[in-house]
């Protein structure tokens, strides 16, 4: 370990930055320094060595700035800070307030002066991811099962709605519960054989399952339409009233209400629909957490052996978590299908699973509000920065790494324990004793 003083000397910092620049230059040399060019005669090579030099220079300057800023910051942080008890109540209370505020803003969003069609559309997309994040949170955050193929259940939901409404002409409201049920069944089918597996074995099997579902959707041309997908999916109706300018023989939504027709009606309706679905997911999750089954999920995440010795059946418990998570994905999937009007296997790649998982982990595993924040960060911001175009995914991946480095435990890490006795007062901790047992929240977060 170098001392702080040595770290702060300029020469050391320059040396450090030079090493980083050398590395960057070497890394960039084959990839940026040369470019493969397709020609009629075959592949040829083109030089642009200056690119590698530019990369090295950029890293040198960036690293130097970072190290210097870090040094300044560290000196400032080293100053002892007086211990300040938070005055705004417990974190749980503050989070509750934040949650209600967010829900309020979300409810009023379409009526706010600055909102337009575009914004509501993006908010709808964001809410799909929030809902998926809350659904996956049941599996990953509460039950502690790493699921890398969550998008499979989303796909099952989307395709079941599309196929049911296509073949039988059923309406969205009939299909929605059926899609959820089908997804949950798929979750059970997958979960039954594999839930005995621990940790990463489960991860790879779910990853494989996600791919299997995608490959089947791609190849089972007769039913799923293969890579062309299914188009012309029935749009949702307002309990039977379609959102169209005029339908012969039927009352449309705007005629029923006696207002002028506007295509915005459907957008706003879809927005409220997903808001209700997402909030229902949240509410159900929060309620289940207080039921014996929800407590069993969290207990199982903490210690499977202890659970078994207390008479909790791990397989049943895991299966229920898996099925509930899958069910929410199924709901979200059928919403997705009705919103898009077109689905294809393209929408259900591993990248989607990765994004949803990243939302859950970044949100702080188990924190409902954290998931909303990280969904805004991961899905919302890139949507607004679509102008970056081809650099968008590069920035997205980079952001994922950087946020993880910045907050390895997620945005809102210190979870509230699900159950807390009323007379629990953290302030009464004896200050001089080191052997204070960590609270449930700390233990949960430190895993």
């Amino acid at each position: 370990m170098k001392t702080d003083a040595a770290d702060c000397r300029l020469s050391t910092q320059v040396k450090d930055a030079a090493a980083a620049a050398l590395l960057a230059g070497l890394l960039a040399l084959p990839m940026l320094g040369f470019r493969l060019i397709d020609q009629a005669t075959g592949l040829t090579l083109d030089y642009r060595l200056s690119w590698a030099a530019i990369a090295a220079l950029a890293v040198f300057l960036g690293r130097l700035t970072l190290v210097r800023a870090n040094g300044v910051l560290r000196r400032r942080m080293a100053r002892p800070r007086p211990f300040a008890a938070s005055s705004a109540g417990t974190p749980g209370r503050r989070r509750q307030i934040a949650g209600w505020t967010m829900a309020g803003v979300a409810l009023l969003l379409p009526w706010l002066p600055f909102s337009d069609r575009n914004l509501i559309d993006k908010a709808t997309l964001l809410l799909i991811y929030v809902m998926l994040g809350w659904g996956l949170n049941v599996v990953v955050g509460l039950a502690g099962l790493l699921d890398l193929g969550y998008v499979a259940f989303y796909a099952v939901g989307a395709y079941s709605y599309a196929l049911l409404s296509h073949t039988f002409g059923l309406s969205f409201w009939v299909c929605l519960p059926m899609a959820g049920l089908l997804s949950a069944t798929f979750g059970m089918l997958l979960g039954f054989p594999v839930l005995r597996l621990r940790g990463d074995y489960l991860a790879i099997v779910t990853l494989g399952f996600g791919e299997i579902v995608r490959v089947i959707l791609l190849n089972w041309q007769v039913v799923t339409g293969g890579p062309n997908g299914i188009s012309g999916i029935q749009r949702p109706t307002f309990f039977g009233l379609p959102f169209l300018a005029a339908v012969p023989g039927k009352t449309t939504f705007h005629e029923f209400l006696g207002v002028a027709y506007s295509p915005d009606h459907r957008i706003i309706f879809l927005y409220y629909l997903i808001l209700v679905l997402a909030l229902a997911t949240n509410l159900i999750t929060l309620r289940i957490r207080r039921l014996p089954i929800g407590r069993a999920w969290e207990a199982l995440r903490e210690d499977e052996t202890a659970c078994r010795s207390l008479g909790i059946d791990p397989t049943k418990t895991k299966l229920s978590a898996f099925a509930s998570g899958a069910m929410f994905a199924g709901f979200a999937g059928s919403f997705f299908a009705t919103r898009q009007g077109f689905i294809s296997p393209e929408s259900f790649t591993f990248l989607e699973s990765a994004i949803i998982l990243a939302i859950v982990v970044l949100g702080g595993l188990g924190s409902q509000i954290g998931i909303v924040l990280s969904a805004i960060l991961l899905v919302g911001l890139p949507e607004w920065f679509r102008d970056l175009q081809q650099y968008r995914m590069l920035a997205f991946g980079g952001a994922m790494v950087l946020i993880m480095l910045w907050r390895p435990r997620g945005l809102l890490a210190n979870r509230d324990p699900t159950i807390r006795l009323d007379d629990y007062r953290p302030a009464e901790k004896p200050a001089n004793s080191l052997a204070v047992l960590p609270s449930t929240a700390e233990r949960g977060a430190s895993r």
Binding site: M31, L36, T305, V361, R447
Partner: protein, 305 residues
């Protein structure tokens, strides 16, 4: 019978490539217990570096094939190993000792970054390469309707893999470096207390895994003749499946798993529909895991209470 033998040969060559990638997964998993999602991308970078090196050597006039192959191998291994080292240093080391899922997410992020970086730097189109090693033996060419072909390239692939595996096994089992690696794998804290520089050992593990992935990348470039920026994902997933199939953490297991996956794929696409070959691979993985939850050669996990 001839057809069977042909698929067998193809399967072994493909399996050797998967096995080389799988070793990178299994070593990293064994030592720090994380799924290195960016490993498939490392392999893709290895393929690109090989392709670029081939063209570069052609430009400067080294066209004698064995020499060119050897130089390309060295260049690809060196540059790709550098990538492996850098990724560990940037994205994983700061997260060591953190929540278990944190490095996984940062690995997925890194994989997205690398994929798009290569796509932007080298273009999204498929990159073709003329065959470098041509020709081969015709086995059983007496049969008029079907001749089994064993190309020189397939021989090179299998030979190179065998040599690398032998060298690798030697390093792991006989050298101080290998001893330190095994010690770190068993108990990181204890290894540190006994004077093993754990950080350096982990870096070395990443470097070794990346170098092997680079060899796999080179082989794929030669074998299929086309690469693009997206090959890393599927190959990485198959290789990870191979590592799990063989028992994650076990080196011979990774090679065995790789060969099995290669054979399954070759036979499935030979006898059934090619579209579902990935389904077959994963179904067999699920089957194996149900009946042998630790993989074929894996040690059963000891639960400490």
């Amino acid at each position: 019978m001839e057809y069977f033998l042909q698929q067998f040969i193809n399967g072994i060559s493909l399996g050797a490539i998967y096995g080389l990638i799988a070793i990178g997964y299994t070593m990293v998993y064994g030592i720090i217990g994380m799924i290195n999602f960016a490993h498939g991308e490392i392999y893709m970078i290895g393929a690109f570096v090989s392709l670029i090196s081939f063209l570069f050597l052609g430009l400067i006039g080294i066209t004698y094939v064995p020499l060119a192959l050897f130089l390309v191998l060295l260049l690809a291994m060196a540059f790709t190993a550098l990538y492996g080292w850098a990724i560990e240093r940037i994205a994983y080391r700061p997260l060591r000792g953190s929540v278990k899922l944190a490095p996984l997410i940062s690995a997925i992020g890194m994989s997205i970054v690398l994929q798009n970086y290569v796509q932007l730097a080298q273009g999204a189109r498929v990159k073709p390469l003329q065959p470098i090693i041509q020709g081969g033996f015709e086995l059983f060419s007496g049969n008029a309707d079907y001749a089994v072909r064993l190309s020189y390239l397939q021989i090179v692939i299998v030979l190179l893999t065998t040599i690398l595996m032998a060298g690798f096994t030697y390093v792991i089992t006989r050298t101080p470096l290998g001893r330190a690696q095994r010690a770190t794998e068993q108990d990181m804290t204890m290894a540190q207390l006994s004077g093993v520089n754990v950080d350096r050992i982990i870096s070395t593990t990443f470097v070794m895994g990346a170098a092997l992935a680079a060899v796999a990348g080179l082989m794929v470039t030669l074998y299929y003749g086309v690469i693009d920026f997206y090959i890393g994902f599927i190959a990485g997933m198959k290789a990870f499946t191979a590592a799990v199939l063989g028992g994650i953490g076990s080196l011979p297991g990774a090679m065995l798993g790789g060969l099995l996956i290669g054979l399954i794929e070759a036979f499935w696409s030979g006898y059934f529909t090619i579209g579902y070959k990935d389904v077959a691979t994963f179904s067999i993985l699920v089957m194996v895991l149900i009946f042998r939850p630790t993989g074929l050669l894996g040690k059963p996990e000891v639960e400490k209470v």
